[in-house]
């Protein structure tokens, strides 16, 4: 279990990015964190990754405090961040340097096959499309089998079709070892497609505003009325988190909506 206990972050310039954020995340759960800009989503993710220290509060994974990058926690950034001087295969194997070469090659080959890029194994990163590069980044993060995988708006730079493909692909990969996924996004559709639970954050200072459980089985039909209802409730919560008036709030919380709230 990943436990966030009153995690706060104040930058040296005095801006408080995150205020007393607490949450408990079960092993294997998929969490989407959503919120307006400046709500501290990325700050929170970087604190969990151990890339930036929280000013106060603690992040613990299975009773172990996280203050620096941890072997059980992987991260995927908005950009693929592949190392341009390594082939696709070597990029995927980057985190396996401690393993014997044959074992590493086997794992890399399986990962390549799993993300459908076997024929690109020896290609340079510059030869990949945006979607392929992000698939390599996902493989690189998953191949050391982390217990927690953090994703910082991983698909936001991709076109709509590729994004959908990768969302489905991510769920498919997740089913292999069922790591905990924590996904920062500002795409409501993405949050509802992927997450078991959507955490809505409120800006200035960033803090937890609302939680919405998405009680839908998988695979999820993006066009079903239930899916639309969940999207609407996340949107409503998001609007309220930004103190926007919600003119048709009564309409959105009609009878069907209330059932799933």
């Amino acid at each position: 279990m990943l436990a966030l206990d009153r995690v706060s972050k104040t930058y040296p310039n005095g801006v408080q990015a995150l205020a007393r954020f607490s949450a408990e995340i079960r092993q294997g759960e998929i969490i989407a964190i959503i919120g307006g800009s400046g709500c501290g989503k990325s700050t929170l993710l970087r604190a969990i990754a151990g890339l930036d220290r929280a000013s106060s509060g603690t992040v613990t994974l299975d009773e172990e405090a996280i203050a620096s990058p941890h072997a059980k926690i992987g991260i995927i950034f908005q950009e693929p961040r592949l190392l341009p001087w390594l082939s696709v295969a070597d990029n995927i194997g980057f985190g396996l340097a401690d393993l014997p070469a044959t074992e590493r090659r086997g794992k890399v080959a399986r990962a390549l096959e799993r993300v459908g890029l076997t024929e690109k194994a020896q290609a340079w990163p510059r030869e990949l499309s945006g979607g392929q590069a992000q698939r390599v980044a996902i493989a690189r993060a998953l191949v050391p089998q982390p217990e927690v995988l953090l994703l910082d708006e991983p698909f936001s730079a991709l076109d709509a079709f590729t994004r959908r493909d990768l969302q489905d692909h991510l769920l498919d990969l997740w089913a292999d070892t069922r790591p905990t996924l924590i996904l920062v996004t500002h795409d409501v559709d993405e949050a509802v497609v992927l997450a078991d639970r959507v955490l809505v954050m409120r800006p200035r200072p960033g803090r937890l505003f609302d939680q919405i459980e998405i009680n839908l089985g998988r695979p999820r039909d993006r066009n079903s009325p239930l899916f639309e209802n969940f999207k609407r409730s996340v949107l409503t919560s998001l609007d309220r988190s930004l103190d926007r008036s919600v003119p048709d709030r009564d309409a959105t919380q009609g009878p069907g909506q209330a059932m799933w709230w």
Partner: protein
């Protein structure tokens, strides 16, 4: 109706023309560069042959080649080339080692940069030839002062290149290293070194160019052998063909050593998505 025709022609033109330039670029482009110097050389040869000029101050290519051949036959050429190559090689080696070490320290460690860099930059502002009298006083007129001068010339571009390259390594790539818990030495070997390599190779090539420049200065000051000595000897004895012969050999050696660096670095830089590479140049 009338406007249709030129549009059609325009679209068919590039497709047709595409095959021809690709063949030209593979074989023709290097030869194209040789056209002008060859034409000038042959033209001058012809002018002297016709007797329109006696070619005393500007000897025709045949006389320059004859001088080179003569020097080669007597064994002089090898001796001079060896002396110059030895000086450049040694000066380059010292300059590269010092420039790389200090550049890496100032690039990696900001306290060292604040301590070291202002002094190095101030020294860099001194025209390097101003060191010559001091080096001769300190190190004598022979090899040591020459090699020191060449090393100084090589040092600055390498120092600046290494420091700049380390400072401009993408923070995002370093973060990838951090997420995989690379520390100290592993971070340097697996992230920083490959990231700075392209800029490092460029700084080595610039440094080598300066090394060749400074070996001439060093040999003009006082030497009994070396290509720079051939230049000076040619001037003092009024032998322009010998001066031109030395210049041609400088050009060949400079190009050759530069090409060696490029060749040695090529296997490590295949990944680069450079503009020049994309065009196949």
């Amino acid at each position: 109706m009338i406007s249709d025709a030129p549009v059609l022609q325009q679209t068919s033109d590039p497709a047709e023309g595409a095959a021809a330039p690709s063949r030209l670029s593979r074989y023709g482009r290097p030869l194209l560069g040789l056209l002008l110097p060859l034409a000038l050389a042959l033209g001058w040869e012809f002018v002297v042959w016709l007797g329109w000029s006696n070619g005393r101050l500007v000897p025709p290519p045949s006389r320059v080649l004859a001088t080179i051949a003569e020097l080669a036959r007597s064994g002089e050429l090898v001796r001079h080339i060896a002396a110059t190559l030895w000086r450049v090689g040694l000066g380059f080696a010292f300059g590269v080692v010092a420039g790389t070490l200090l550049g890496a320290i100032s690039g990696y460690w900001s306290l060292a940069r604040r301590l070291l860099d202002p002094t190095v930059q101030a020294l860099r502002a001194i025209p390097s030839l101003a060191w010559v009298p001091l080096f001769i006083l300190w190190l004598g007129i022979f090899e040591t002062s020459k090699i020191a001068l060449i090393a100084v010339g090589v040092f600055f571009p390498v120092y600046l290149g290494v420091m700049g390259a380390i400072l401009s390594v993408d923070r995002k790539v370093v973060e990838v290293g951090r997420t995989f818990r690379l520390s100290g030495f592993a971070m340097i070997r697996r992230i920083l070194l490959p990231a700075v390599l392209p800029a490092y190779v460029v700084s080595l090539r610039v440094g080598l160019g300066l090394g060749w420049m400074f070996v001439v200065a060093a040999e003009l000051i006082g030497a009994s052998e070396g290509l720079g000595y051939l230049l000076l000897d040619g001037q003092q004895l009024g032998k322009p063909a010998q001066i031109l012969a030395a210049i041609v050999i400088f050009a060949i050696l400079g190009k050759l050593t530069d090409w060696l660096i490029e060749l040695a670095a090529a296997p490590f830089l295949r990944w680069q998505d450079a503009f020049g590479r994309a065009k196949g140049a």
